[in-house]
């Protein structure tokens, strides 16, 4: 009898997993983790930032995004400069988002479904419930047995595209020097620190 129940539970579990889309599951779990462990938790600010940084670097395909945001300049950049850029980029992005979490006032995220994009990528459509609902699309690519985030599109505005446009304009005015861009990103991160210390 016990075996029978276990078997039924196993069958039921497999249905439950199948009913839940794996891509939605990935984003849902990530959002939930960041919400409970970082945004709404009572931990110290530094600890929150470390937790968020780990979750962020784990979930986002930083190298892919870095290639995209540097555009044609990426190919001409040395491995060393690429790594330095990616570090500065991650630093600033983590600081930016950690700052934005202060604006959270209990909004819920609702998943609406997925769409297939080219090269096996998936769009996860979601809406953040607020006075005016905000449409958020998560662009994922398969990676091993899970996914990596390659872009987040908020109300039609792609993060990746926005960074790319921003950095392209900076690079154009700075002789396409990635190290100048890296230094500028580091300076922005330091500004964050001093401002938050006030």
């Amino acid at each position: 009898m016990k075996k029978m129940i276990l078997f039924l539970v196993a069958v039921f579990m497999s249905f439950a997993v199948r009913a839940e889309d794996p891509a939605i599951n990935f984003v849902d779990k990530l959002a939930d983790k960041i919400l409970t462990e970082v945004v709404t938790s009572n931990k110290e600010k530094d600890e929150k930032e470390t937790l968020f940084r780990d979750a962020f670097t784990e979930a986002v395909d930083l190298k892919g995004v870095g290639q995209f945001v540097l555009g044609t300049v990426w190919k001409k950049t040395s491995e060393e400069d690429r790594t330095a850029f990616l570090n500065a980029f991650t630093d600033l992005t983590v600081k930016t988002w950690a700052d934005r979490f202060n604006l959270y006032t209990g909004q819920q995220i609702i998943f609406q479904g997925t769409r297939n994009a080219e090269r096996g990528q998936i769009y996860v459509d979601s809406v953040i419930q607020d006075k005016q609902p905000v449409e958020v699309i998560w662009r994922l690519r398969p990676s091993k047995d899970s996914y990596k985030i390659v872009d987040i599109v908020v109300e039609g505005v792609s993060m990746a595209s926005t960074y790319r446009n921003d950095y392209r304009a900076f690079l154009q005015q700075n002789a396409n020097s990635v190290s100048a861009l890296t230094e500028e990103l580091a300076r922005k991160s330091r500004e964050f620190k001093s401002e938050n210390a006030k």
Partner: protein, 259 residues
Amino acid sequence: MGKKSFILFFCLFAVLSGCATRPTNPEELKAYEEVNDPLEPMNRGIHAFNQVADKIVLKPIAKGYRAVVPSFYRGWVSNFFDNLSQPVHFLNALLQGQLKDAGSSLGRFVTNTTFGLFGLFDVATEAGIPNPSNDFGQTLAKWGWDGDGGPFLMLPILGPSNVRDGIGTGVDAVAHPMGWALWNEQKLHYGLVGLDGVATRERALDLLDDLEKTSTDYYATLRTMSRQNRRKKINQVLNNKEDEKPDYEADFSDIEWED
């Protein structure tokens, strides 16, 4: 400076600052066409002007407004002006043949003007009526002027736009019921427009501070975000099918993924 001399100054500025030079390198040309900003020198000049005006006038007022007026009453102000612009949204929705949106705008206006006490309370949102906010830029797109709507324009005070949506903003402003209702009360009219402007700037405080703090080229960031967001709004009225969400511009086809 009168209105006429301001326009004259604006035109002179455009002529003197000239056009961006078209690059010859194919990669750069692609980027140049994507941002569609041949008037970049002029636009950057206006952006610099806007930043100064914002820093010394608009932002301090908006911050003062936030500090003095509690959030609850600021909500009243936002709701009131949002409700007053619903007739314009309604007309645009009709011109676009978006009957569902027209119904929402009309429904909002009727509900909020009556039960919401002249629009101070947004009971329509609580009743689940969406707020599609159709504008004349979208109407022009629906009538055939689709795509990016002509070159990018940085408007004085109003911020990023393009030729089509700039015209749209002008037409919507002329059509706004407040101007007609207060035809003989110009002082009150300008006062209310000013209050609406302050309230709008207050709502954008966090977002714009954030963007300015984190971007390496604030102008380029505003330009791309505005274009992408407008593209979404335009696509909304062009293909009305809800299941057919349009693609967006990030093209990852050249990226070499590593596992």
